[in-house]
């Protein structure tokens, strides 16, 4: 092989690796991304298909937490609409009524079954998506509470 051919072969094989990576990424981005919805998106606009994984975010409704053994039921609200959530396992330490929360899972029958409830390390922290949705609804201004 001449030097030019060698270089071409090298570029072609690097290109092949990159191409494979791009295809993998595109495939994974089609199937593995998880959308974030508020209860309004689900209840009034029915944006999620049954069985589709998504993240549900909002506030934990006051007085809605009901523990039955290792199963916990609570209601996520964005003050306009609300959705009951079922979760099996241990809730994060900072899970409280009236606080922002993100749950990940699927719609099932009458509500939402979560397999993950997103925790936070800091009580002033409001997940960005939740903060945005609540700001849209004019419920929570945020930002100032950290100081």
């Amino acid at each position: 092989m001449t030097r030019k051919q060698k270089r071409l072969a090298m570029i072609a094989s690097i290109g092949a690796v990159l191409m494979a990576a791009v295809l993998l990424v595109m495939y994974a981005l089609r199937d593995e991304i998880v959308f974030f919805y508020s209860p309004t998106d689900i209840v009034t606009e029915s944006k999620a298909r049954p069985g589709q994984r998504f993240r549900l975010g909002g506030l934990v409704k006051e007085g809605s937490i009901d523990r039955q053994g290792e199963t916990v039921r609570f209601v996520i609200t964005d003050t306009e609409q609300e959705l009951p959530v079922t979760f099996v396992g241990i809730l994060p330490d900072l899970f409280r009524e009236g606080q922002g929360v993100i749950a990940e899972g699927t719609l099932s029958g009458d509500g939402f079954t979560a397999d993950t409830v997103l925790a936070k390390h800091d009580e002033n922290y409001m997940p960005k998506e939740v903060a945005d949705t609540l700001k849209e609804k004019g419920v929570w201004q945020g930002g100032e509470s950290t100081k």
């Binding site: 991304i33 998880v34 900072l94 945005d132």
Partner: protein, 664 residues
């Protein structure tokens, strides 16, 4: 008073950094030795003043001086002393101060140990370090001043976030920053080389120890962070593919690639353009990581409250440095001459292969991390990209890399014969195959992937020592000869072997824990028993205990192993009074390389509580593998310093000896 001195020292450091950014570079451009010689003293001065500021803030924390907003927000008089000190960097302002402290420390180290670097290159390197220092000192002074006062001073502080009150905070951030910021040195070297136009194999020889040191600390920092999150958060996970984790992992991937390509540049003067570009990219990714973590634009499980205003400032720094260095690169790169030629099958070829896969992997992780931002900006849809995405894209890219890892070091430079190299690996391949078949036969109820993964780990672990085995002639010469040859091998060889072995160990841990983990969640009341993977645990009740600044409910569990020995485990639920914030303290029992991990839910009024228990087989290998990698880096580094040092010392001795001879 000390606080004002600290603030003043920080402003002085900025002034010195401004001079450091300007004069040595001007000196290098004009060939003025006096201006260039100012670089080292300026770098030391900047370091001293930033250290003074850092010391002043530490003093405020130690004495619980709540007249500082920063101390009031993040400290408490009842906090144990260790956490008062580590609390200095357990918040945004303090952690940025630690960032510039480490940056200036690297500058000071170049000043002290860089006497073998040509003066104009060193002057330019120190100037670029100065520019980075200017940007971040401005950031601290304008948006995140830790010395802001509070009047009147409150009587008691708000306490440090309980999750951070752990020995992990003493180790993880400094290590991680030593890694992140350590790559600023390779960046400065790249920028300086492009300014002065001198890019050759000598450049790679000066840069490689710095890249290696930064890589070593970054590896240790990421591993420590992973173990910390694992035991502190109580979810039993060791890696979440979370944006904050990815922010440190992307520079690691790029830095690992840089380490390998700099080797080619040093030995064969090839891949020059690519190595320079990698040096720029690696530090750019460190800056991007700082931005992602500090701005809070991405939702993360590790996120703390933060302020978007500051994010924009860091974004500006990011744009200036990445944009500036890439522009310089675009101007200078075409003038570079291609270096040594090589055949596709050669050591160089293997290292190019390594670089292609590592760089592609870094790009996919970056894509997955930034995709939610792009989607939201373009379509307004809010999405998240989770672990499945990264497993699908990152996993397949790693497999070819791991498969060829034992082969690379066996190939000779320039042009290699594949056949003898494969011959040397024959027995290792056979052993790995036996391991695969044995695991597959023993675990018939498990997916075959687990057996393949363990076989791959065996291949990588055994293959790591193939080069040493061959070079020592084990099995082909007398044992005594082999032994003496082993002792004579260069340390870098051992470093490479240990590093690659560590990857194999880590892989083994990852595969075992992913495939064979067992988990159980159950509600228990005193007297109940439950079991996971053959370990039976009996719940005996809850004891209240009070600590220095918290009170806790400690569950008393008595665990019986499958072999009948009994031990106690004490998971707990803590409440930190100052913030009235609960934390979970998981109980972890290490058995061999495996761990039994028990975490608690809330304790109900009637004494019932939810217990979540995991059996995590061989999980500690994940971090033990990282320890091997760090060890490998350290061994390699000791070799280089020794060699460079000896050469230097020999030269200076000769210089001293010459005049003596003349006079005699």
């Amino acid at each position: 008073m000390i606080n004002e001195l600290g603030h003043f020292a920080l402003v002085l450091a900025l002034a010195l950094a401004l001079v450091q950014g300007a004069l040595p570079a001007i000196g290098a451009a004009r060939g003025d030795n006096r201006l260039m010689a100012m670089g080292p003293s300026l770098a030391l001065g900047t370091f001293v003043f930033i250290a003074l500021a850092f010391g002043a803030l530490t003093a405020a924390y130690v004495t619980s001086d709540f007249s500082l907003v920063n101390v009031w927000e993040n400290s408490h008089s009842a906090k144990p002393m260790l956490f008062k000190v580590t609390g200095v960097w357990g918040n945004h302002e303090g952690s940025m101060l630690l960032w510039v402290l480490i940056l200036s420390l690297f500058g000071a180290m170049i000043a002290l140990f860089g006497s073998n670097i040509p003066p104009d290159l060193r002057a330019n390197v120190l100037s670029v370090q100065g520019w980075i220092a200017i940007a971040f000192l401005l950031f601290i002074l304008l948006t995140s001043n830790p010395f802001e006062r509070l009047d009147p001073a409150p009587f008691e502080g708000n306490d440090l976030n309980p999750v951070l009150q752990d020995i992990g905070l003493a180790i993880h951030p400094p290590m991680l920053y030593l890694g992140y910021v350590g790559f600023s040195v390779t960046f400065s070297f790249a920028a300086a080389a492009m300014i002065s136009g001198r890019i050759d194999s000598a450049w790679a020889r000066w840069v490689r120890p710095w890249a290696l040191a930064a890589w070593l600390f970054l590896t240790a920092g990421i591993a420590m962070g992973s173990y910390w999150a694992y035991y502190e958060l109580g979810w039993g996970g060791w890696w979440f593919w979370d944006p904050v984790e990815n922010a440190s992992f992307i520079p690691w991937l790029a830095g690992t690639a840089l380490l390998h390509s700099a080797l080619v540049m040093e030995k064969r003067e090839a891949l020059k353009i690519w190595t320079i570009l990698l040096a720029i990219i690696t530090f750019s990714m460190s800056l991007l990581g700082t931005f992602l973590v500090r701005s809070g634009v991405l939702t993360s499980v590790h996120a703390f409250a933060n302020d978007p205003e500051r994010g924009i400032f860091i974004l500006m720094i990011l744009i200036v440095f990445i944009g500036g260095s890439l522009t310089l690169f675009a101007i200078r790169a075409p003038a570079l001459k291609a270096g040594g030629l090589f055949q596709p099958i050669s050591r160089e070829g293997a290292l190019v292969f390594n670089n292609v896969f590592l760089a592609t992997a870094a790009a996919t992780v970056l894509t997955g991390t930034l995709y939610p931002l792009a989607m939201e900006a373009l379509t307004g849809a809010k999405i998240s990209v989770g672990a499945p995405f990264f497993n699908i894209t990152f996993g397949p890219l790693m497999i070819p890399l791991l498969l060829l890892m034992p082969l690379g070091p066996l190939l000779s430079w320039k042009r290699a014969d594949l056949y003898p190299a494969l011959q040397r690996l024959f027995w290792i391949a056979a052993l790995a195959l036996i391991v695969t078949l044995a695991v597959a036969a023993l675990t018939t109820d498990q997916p075959v992937l687990a057996a393949l993964g363990i076989g791959l780990a065996a291949w990588v672990m055994l293959g790591a020592f193939a080069e040493i085995w061959t070079r020592a002639g084990i099995g082909r010469t007398a044992p005594a000869t082999s032994l003496s040859r082993l002792g004579g091998l260069p340390r870098t060889l051992w470093g490479t072997a240990l590093g690659h072995f560590g990857i194999g160990v880590l892989l083994l841990g990852v595969v075992c824990v992913s495939a064979f983990e067992r988990e159980t969640v159950t509600e228990m009341q005193p007297g109940d028993t439950a079991s996971v993977a053959g370990y039976r645990f009996a719940f005996e009740g809850v004891l209240p205990v009070s600590g220095p600044n918290y009170s806790e409910q400690v569950a008393q569990l008595s665990v019986t192993s499958p072999w009948g020995n009994v031990f106690a485990m004490r998971p707990a639920k803590r409440i930190y009074q100052a913030r009235n914030m609960p934390t979970t303290e998981a109980a972890i029992e290490t058995i061999g390389f495996s761990q039994l991990y028990i975490s608690l839910g809330d304790v109900a009024a009637d004494g019932k509580l939810v217990v979540r228990a995991w059996w995590k087989p061989q999980v500690t290998l994940i971090w033990i593998g990282a320890i091997f990698m760090v060890l490998g880096g350290a061994v390699s580094l000791s070799d280089r310093r020794l060699r460079v040092g000896i050469a230097e010392r020999a030269k200076s001795r000769r210089k001293q000896a010459e005049p003596a001879d003349a006079s005699a």
